[in-house]
C-alpha cells in the first residue's frame, strides 16, 4: 500500500510510520524554542518596551492579544489546507494534522477574545461590542468548537475526517473577513498596526516584543501539535504492523529504564 522509503523526497514523511518518529524528534526542539522565546518576549514586553502615550500600561496586553489573534487565524488556515490536501490526495496523515491543530487554534482564539475584552473595558469603556471584527472572531471560535465536536461525534473515522474537512474549508472564508473587517467596515476595533503593506505604526521595542511573542506562539503550536498528533497516529494505525513493532520497542525501552 504505502511505500515508506522511496527516495529522499520530503513526501516520504506523508507516510504515518515515517512521520511518527520525526514528530517525536522535532517536538522537544520546538518546545525548547517556545520556552526561550516566550521568556525573551515577556522580558521585552514588560521591561524594555515603553509605556504607551495614550493608554498607559494597559496597552501591554497586545503582547499576548495580537500574537494569539494572529495564531488563531493562521492555525485555521493551516487546518483548512491540510483538510483540502486530505480530501484531494486521500492521505491519512493530513486529516490527523488538521484535527491535531484544532484545540490549539481554539485556545488561541479564546485567549485573543478574553484579553481583548480585558483591554476593551479600560480603553473603549466596554468589554464587548458587536462590531464586525469582534463578531467574526467569535464566529471563528464557534467554527473551531464545531470542528472539534463534529470530528469527535462521528464514529467512523473516515466519515469524521471528511465532515471535519468540509467545516474547515467552509469556515476558512471567515478568516479573510476577520482580517480585513477593520478595513472594509467602520468598526470600534482599530485598524492593523502591523501589516505587510505599510510601515508599522508602533515604537520599535514594542514591535520587537510583539514579534518575538508571535514567533514563540508559532514554536509552541508546532511542538504541541506534533506531540498531539503522535498518539492520534498510533490509534488510527493500531492494526498495522509498524505500530505493533513501535509499541514493542517503546515497551522494551521503558522496561530497560526501570
Amino acid at each position: 500500500m504505502s511505500r515508506p522509503d522511496r527516495g529522499p523526497s520530503i513526501l516520504r514523511f506523508a507516510a504515518p510510520q515515517n512521520f511518527y518518529p520525526l514528530a517525536g524528534r522535532l517536538a522537544p526542539w520546538f518546545a525548547g524554542a517556545a520556552a526561550l522565546l516566550t521568556l525573551a518576549g515577556l522580558w521585552l514586553s514588560f521591561f524594555v518596551a515603553p509605556t504607551d502615550a495614550t493608554q498607559g500600561e494597559v496597552y501591554r496586553v497586545i503582547f499576548i492579544h495580537v500574537p494569539a489573534a494572529w495564531m488563531s487565524m493562521f492555525v485555521y488556515l493551516v487546518m483548512a489546507f491540510w483538510s483540502a490536501v486530505g480530501l484531494v490526495m486521500n492521505t491519512r496523515l493530513s486529516f490527523l494534522m488538521s484535527q491535531a491543530l484544532a484545540p490549539t487554534g481554539a485556545m488561541f482564539c479564546v485567549v485573543a477574545l478574553w484579553t481583548g475584552a480585558l483591554w476593551g473595558k479600560p480603553t473603549w469603556g466596554t468589554y464587548w461590542v458587536w462590531d464586525a471584527r469582534l463578531t467574526s472572531q467569535a464566529l471563528l471560535l464557534f467554527l473551531y468548537l464545531g470542528f472539534i465536536a463534529l470530528t469527535r461525534a462521528i464514529e467512523d473515522p473516515r466519515r469524521a475526517d471528511r465532515a471535519g474537512a468540509i467545516i474547515a474549508l467552509v469556515g476558512a472564508v471567515n478568516v479573510p473577513v476577520i482580517y480585513f473587517s477593520v478595513k472594509w467596515w467602520n468598526t470600534l476595533h482599530q485598524g492593523a498596526s502591523v501589516s505587510l503593506t505599510k510601515a508599522p505604526s508602533m515604537a520599535t521595542t514594542m514591535l520587537a516584543g510583539m514579534l518575538v511573542m508571535a514567533v514563540a506562539a508559532w514554536a509552541y503550536t508546532l511542538a504541541v501539535v506534533l506531540w498531539r498528533v503522535r498518539p492520534m497516529i498510533l490509534e488510527r494505525e493500531r492494526h498495522t504492523e509498524w505500530v505493533g513493532a513501535e509499541l514493542m520497542r517503546e515497551a522494551l525501552r521503558q522496561g530497560g529504564r526501570a
Binding site: P50, T51, D52, A53, T54, Q55, Y59, I62, A84, L87, V88, M89, N90, P122, T123, W124, G125, T126, V129, W130, D131, A132, L169, V170, A172, V173, V177, W184, W185, N186, T187, L188, Q190, G191, A192, S193, S201, M202, A203, M206
Partner: protein, 148 residues
C-alpha cells in the same frame, strides 16, 4: 481524468462558489455591518431615523462642556467635514479626550443634537512612548502655525 485531479477540481470549485456566496452575502449586509455612521453620512440622511444608531468620529477640540448639574456632558463629534452636537449623561471612558476618536450610541433629536446613551472611546492603531507622542504634538503645532 484521474480521480485525484477530479477531487482537486471538486474542492476548488466548491471553495470558489463558497467565496462567491460569502462575498455576495457580505455585500448585501454592507449597511448592517457598519458599526457606526460618520457625521457626513448623517448629514446626507443615510443614518437610520427613529431608532438608536451609532455615530463615530473625532471629539472636536474645545467642544467638551460639563453642565452645572454635574452629570450632563456636551461635546461635538466631527469627521472634519460635518459636526454633530452630542449630549450625554453618564461616565466617560478614560481614553475619551478632545481630538481623539469616539463612538457614540443614541438617537438623533429633532433639534439636530444627538442624545447619547453610551459613549465608547475609539483607539487608533498608533502605539508610541510619551516622548514620541510629545514630539508628534510639537511638530503638529509647528505645522499648524504655518498653515493659514
Amino acid at each position: 481524468m484521474k480521480p485525484r485531479s477530479k477531487r482537486l477540481v471538486l474542492v476548488g470549485v466548491g471553495v470558489a462558489l463558497l467565496v462567491g456566496a460569502a462575498a455576495l452575502v457580505l455585500n448585501a449586509f454592507q449597511q448592517n455591518l457598519v458599526f457606526f455612521h460618520t457625521p457626513t453620512e448623517v448629514a446626507a440622511g443615510k443614518a437610520p431615523t427613529g431608532r438608536t444608531f451609532r455615530i463615530g468620529g473625532l471629539v472636536e477640540v474645545g467642544s467638551v462642556q460639563r453642565e452645572p448639574d454635574g452629570v450632563t456632558v456636551r461635546f461635538a463629534v466631527t469627521d472634519t467635514a460635518k459636526t454633530i452636537p452630542v449630549s450625554y449623561q453618564g461616565t466617560l471612558p478614560d481614553l475619551f479626550k478632545e481630538g481623539k476618536g469616539a463612538v457614540v450610541q443614541g438617537r438623533l433629536e429633532a433639534d439636530g443634537t444627538f442624545r447619547a446613551s453610551e459613549v465608547l472611546a475609539k483607539h487608533d492603531e498608533n502605539y508610541m512612548p510619551p516622548e514620541a507622542a510629545h514630539a508628534v504634538e510639537q511638530a503638529h503645532k509647528a505645522g499648524a502655525t504655518v498653515k493659514p
